[in-house]
């Protein structure tokens, strides 16, 4: 079995409110980047599949030099190898183009069984890359995956988290999986993993290596244009204390208020 994990960097969510419109438009948020938290579940699941089923795991990221952080996190957690994919023609890519670029990288790696990605990236929060990637690969997309039940004989069965509960789905391999946080608890890097990641050097694949037509990706191929970007208004809140003689009375008032506000 061959597993591929697609990872990227993102700002820490706690830092996001500090980003200005200008910074968001320029693409340089001026923040220290961490591994996109959703990707950690994908990395962990890739490692668990390898540990249970055998086979190999490869981590792939799209980004210019200096964006190897997510690959290093993957290596520190135990992924043996990572590849950075970049070409100046990729700059300004939208989610569709990132999906195409990742699909080309996955194909270059050859026969694969499962591609795992974070379900979304915490900065843009579009959740489109897994869709674009699966579409470009012609593979089934299994989103909201909370558990991999079985894998083998060219098939995979998973549990997806849906509004009413969980649904069990079986698909033919290869597939693209976008997990939810219920799937696992990502491991902490070990010291030897940290050492390996600190010393790791990554191959770089460019547009020519991937056989990508430069006009189909990057700003030239973007289908999404950002017209007018603005920050959402700051949330307004107020505090209401429920007064009452007894706990029962206070709780009754609280429940009534929550129902009136249609919270419950």
């Amino acid at each position: 079995m061959k597993y591929i994990v697609c990872v990227t960097q993102s700002p820490d969510t706690a830092e996001l409110p500090k980003v200005t419109v200008d910074q968001a438009e320029s693409g340089n948020q001026g923040l220290e980047l961490i591994t996109n938290p959703w990707d950690e579940y994908a990395i962990e699941e890739g490692l668990r599949l390898k540990e249970k089923q055998g086979g190999s795991v490869l981590a792939i990221t799209v980004g210019p030099a200096g964006t190897e952080g997510a690959l290093k996190s993957a290596v520190a957690m135990g992924v043996p190898k990572g590849v950075r994919v970049w070409d100046d023609a990729f700059a300004g890519s939208d989610a569709l183009a990132i999906g195409r670029i990742l699909a080309a990288a996955v194909r270059k790696e050859g026969d694969y069984d499962v591609v795992l990605t974070g379900k979304t990236t915490v900065d843009g929060n579009g959740a489109l890359v897994p869709v674009a990637l699966a579409s470009a690969l012609g593979a089934a997309l299994l989103s909201q995956v909370a558990k991999i039940v079985a894998i083998g004989d060219g098939k995979i069965t998973v549990e997806r988290l849906v509004e009413e509960g969980r649904e069990k789905v079986t698909a033919d391999l290869p597939v693209v999986i976008a997990p939810v946080k219920e799937i696992n608890e990502p491991r902490y890097a070990s010291f030897m993993g940290i050492r390996k990641a600190s010393r790791a050097k990554f191959d770089v694949w460019d547009a020519a290596a991937l056989g990508i037509n430069a006009g189909s990706v990057g700003a030239a191929g973007a289908k999404v244009a950002w017209g007018n970007l603005s920050k959402p208004p700051a949330r307004e809140g107020s505090v209401v204390l429920m007064e009452g003689e007894t706990v029962e009375e206070k709780v009754t008032k609280l429940v009534d208020a929550l129902m009136a506000e249609k919270v419950i």
Binding site: K72, A76, Y188, A189, S190, F191, R195, A197, S198, R199
Partner: protein
């Protein structure tokens, strides 16, 4: 000069910072209030390879540099003093002693389980009647055929009741001389090794300290650690390195108290504005931050000297002395800034204060550090 961490050290720092925030700090109050030994955290640290940081790769450890060990203990100290001291005693006392003076066979046998965190280590020095005066050790080891028989008792043995491997300092010659003591590796399941219940202490409730009685404890001759009669010198060498560990833990405790004080000063209001806007509080915070910074630099410098193979006894003693006294003082001021709430278990600063108090006593009191420093500066190295 280069004051920056290398990439590996930075990565280690960031990983531990995250780990401590998510796993260690949230448990610190529970550990303090219940006195439970934090086995779950210790097991996780073992799985991460942190309990073998200073053990060479050949024996299953990480073979990390001295600064990485300091980073580890500092970050643990930021979250929980008890977890920090358990790890410090394991790494800087027990594992360091075997690594420094063990034979190849002893290292193979004892360091590998310590490195994986499968077994914790302990070092037994202090006795009911002696602490700083190591030459007053009364626990004896007597050769009997192909065994050593150990009799006596140890006090305040960190990890003494939970460790699998203990290193004990024993008297092998009756006369009081610098060649009368020897160190022994003693598996704690050896008949006659009996640890008492955890001592009741002011702080560090999750880091168990034990009185240990040694009643005809028999170990094979090959359990002698290092050279017979060199126990005092070997112990002093181990303690030299241990000072960097205790210093690092203290920097972490000081940093934690400082962060708590800043956080509280920003949100607590008096006279219509946050107390952080009052100069009396600002000056306290500025002094606290300065002292934490100086302690950290002194400590990193001592660790760097040790890593370079340079003499570091004086610098290590200075760093330990300053960092431990700093931690107590910064925690004291953090309580002062918190006012009445600082005296309450609801806020972590009183726990930090109680935990920090031990640091100026354990592994060489402040007075012993001053003796070491004075000897070095007056008589030269």
């Amino acid at each position: 000069m280069d004051f920056a961490f290398n990439e590996e050290q930075q990565f280690l720092h960031d990983t531990l910072h995250d780990f401590v925030a998510k796993e260690v700090k949230p448990q610190a109050r529970h550990v303090d209030e219940t006195g439970e030994f934090p086995w779950d955290i210790i097991q996780k640290l073992g799985a991460m390879g942190m309990l073998g940081l200073n053990i060479p790769e050949a024996y299953g450890g990480a073979g990390a540099d001295e600064l990485s060990v300091a980073i580890f203990l500092e970050e643990l100290g930021r979250g929980c003093g008890s977890t920090g001291l358990i790890s410090e005693a394991h790494l800087c006392l027990a594992a360091a002693a075997i690594n420094l003076f063990g034979s190849e066979a002893q290292k193979q046998r004892y360091l590998t389980p310590l490195a994986r965190g499968k077994v914790l280590g302990a070092l037994g020095l202090t006795e009911p009647g002696t602490g700083s005066d190591l030459q007053g050790i009364r626990t004896t080891a007597r050769r009997d055929g192909d065994e050593w028989i150990i009799n006596g008792s140890k006090m305040w043995m960190t990890n003494g009741g939970v460790a699998g491997t203990a290193v004990l300092l024993c008297r092998t010659k009756a006369e009081r001389s610098s060649h009368s003591l020897s160190q022994f590796i003693v598996p704690t399941d050896t008949p006659g090794f009996q640890a008492g219940p955890p001592e009741k202490k002011m702080g560090l409730h999750g880091c168990w300290s034990h009185a240990v009685s040694l009643d005809d404890v028999r170990v094979p001759l090959d359990h002698l650690l290092g050279a017979e009669g060199k126990g005092l010198q070997q112990t002093l060498a181990v303690l030299d390195g241990g000072r960097i560990g205790i210093g690092a833990l203290s920097v972490g405790l000081g940093q934690a108290a400082l962060e708590e004080a800043i956080g509280y000063a920003r949100q607590r209001e008096t006279f219509g504005r946050p107390i952080a806007e009052h100069q009396a509080i600002q000056f306290k915070l500025a002094d606290m931050a300065t002292k934490v910074h100086i302690a950290r630099q002194a400590l990193y410098y001592a660790a760097w000297r040790k890593e370079q193979g340079l003499p570091f006894s004086k610098e290590g003693a200075m760093a330990k002395l300053f960092a431990t006294e700093m931690a107590e003082e910064v925690a004291y001021q953090a309580i002062q800034i918190h006012g009445g709430y600082g005296y309450s278990h609801e806020y972590p600063v009183e726990r930090i204060y109680r935990d920090a108090r031990l640091m100026t006593i354990g592994e060489g009191t402040s007075e012993v550090q001053r003796m070491v420093i004075a000897r070095r500066i007056i008589k030269g190295r």
